[in-house]
């Protein structure tokens, strides 16, 4: 795993740029420009774009190139509903199998980020922390395929989560919910934890939709 091909490097960096909001939905990504940007040939760029296509961040049209995907409000709702469904399924199975070590790890991730929050604004890495925390809770279920699906759903919705965080200061709220989630997990209350998780995800969704609709309204 130590070695990274140029294609992987470009894919990783480009993913960050897309998720960071550098390109608005529907932007064409010219292979030549990206190649010059990264100082590589177009081939690793193409391969990176293909990877991102599979992740749902860009779309290829034969002989017309790659475009960043545009998510509608309906699709965002759909993505978050699916997250509720799958993450709830996994969490329910993970909680009875949580060991003290698992809980300690989740605790550590959470307090580390609390500390980072107080130090400064780390929006860039919030997604990673968020996913790391959720992963720590889900891992004991030992459902790798489901985890892969969850990762995919998260990647697809990440761009919009960032947008929401930028406009509304909801990180603190999310952190409070994380603590509540951890407490319920510690008590082994699967039903309660799933309920909090559902609310956690759906609230984030509504926040994003609100921001997005406000944004669209102001553009029109």
């Amino acid at each position: 795993m130590a070695f990274k091909t140029r294609a992987q490097y470009v894919a990783d960096d480009l993913r960050q740029r897309i998720l960071g909001g550098e390109f608005s939905g529907g932007t064409q990504l010219r292979q030549d420009a990206l190649a010059k940007d990264y100082g590589v040939s177009r081939i690793p760029v193409r391969e990176a774009l293909l990877t991102l296509e599979a992740e749902g961040l860009v779309e290829f049209h034969a002989h017309r190139g790659a475009f960043t995907t545009e998510l509608s409000v309906a699709k965002i709702r759909e993505l978050f509903d699916l997250r509720v469904l799958v993450e709830g399924y996994v969490l329910e199975r993970a909680i009875p199998r949580l060991t003290p070590a698992d809980l300690a790890q989740a605790e550590t991730i959470l307090s580390d980020y609390d500390a980072a929050l107080n130090a400064g604004h780390q929006i860039d890495h919030w997604s990673d922390f968020n996913f790391a925390f959720h992963r720590a809770l889900y891992a004991p279920a030992e459902l790798p395929e489901a985890m892969a699906m969850i990762a995919q759903l998260n990647t697809k919705s990440d761009r919009y989560i960032r947008m929401q965080l930028l406009y509304t200061r909801q990180i603190e709220k999310a952190e409070r919910e994380h603590h509540a989630l951890l407490d319920l997990a510690r008590q082994g209350d699967a039903a309660g934890a799933c309920q909090v998780l559902e609310r956690h995800i759906l609230d984030a969704c509504e926040g994003i939709v609100a921001v997005l609709e406000h944004h669209l309204a102001s553009q029109a």
Copy 2:
């Protein structure tokens, strides 16, 4: 959509070959050999392999190449459990929105395949028919992201479904279940349909696991 690049063509054909069982799990797919096979250069082959990697059919290791993935019994169970979860979710939402036209289309697909079954052994296209039928039932839910996930889960488990069909004559059973499913859908009985669907998927899973374990036992 009319035009197909060579990369897409190779991806489609190679997917069929993998799903058809031509390569056992863990086989290395040499780019050079495939390129000569298809009469193209290695680049579209690489791109095809990247696509298949995203679909979970092969795995890339840097500088070592692509290998077909190997699914464990645990992963197969996980995949089918996820199918129950997601397909049930979609079906429940689709049934109240089913129009007579939707039902007619599903009916047509089903009777077309019944006819094909009587004519000869069409195992090659069973997956397509199967997916087409399920898609017809799910489509009215208008959940494209969920449909994409379902397609992905189906692709991953297809190889093993074929194996099961080859060893056990379960197509007829599946067809009977399809008819039952369609009847319940026609009556608007969402709960009943979901129950039949769950049984439909889990029975297939158990059949595959039985075949696989028998297979593994005879190898050892």
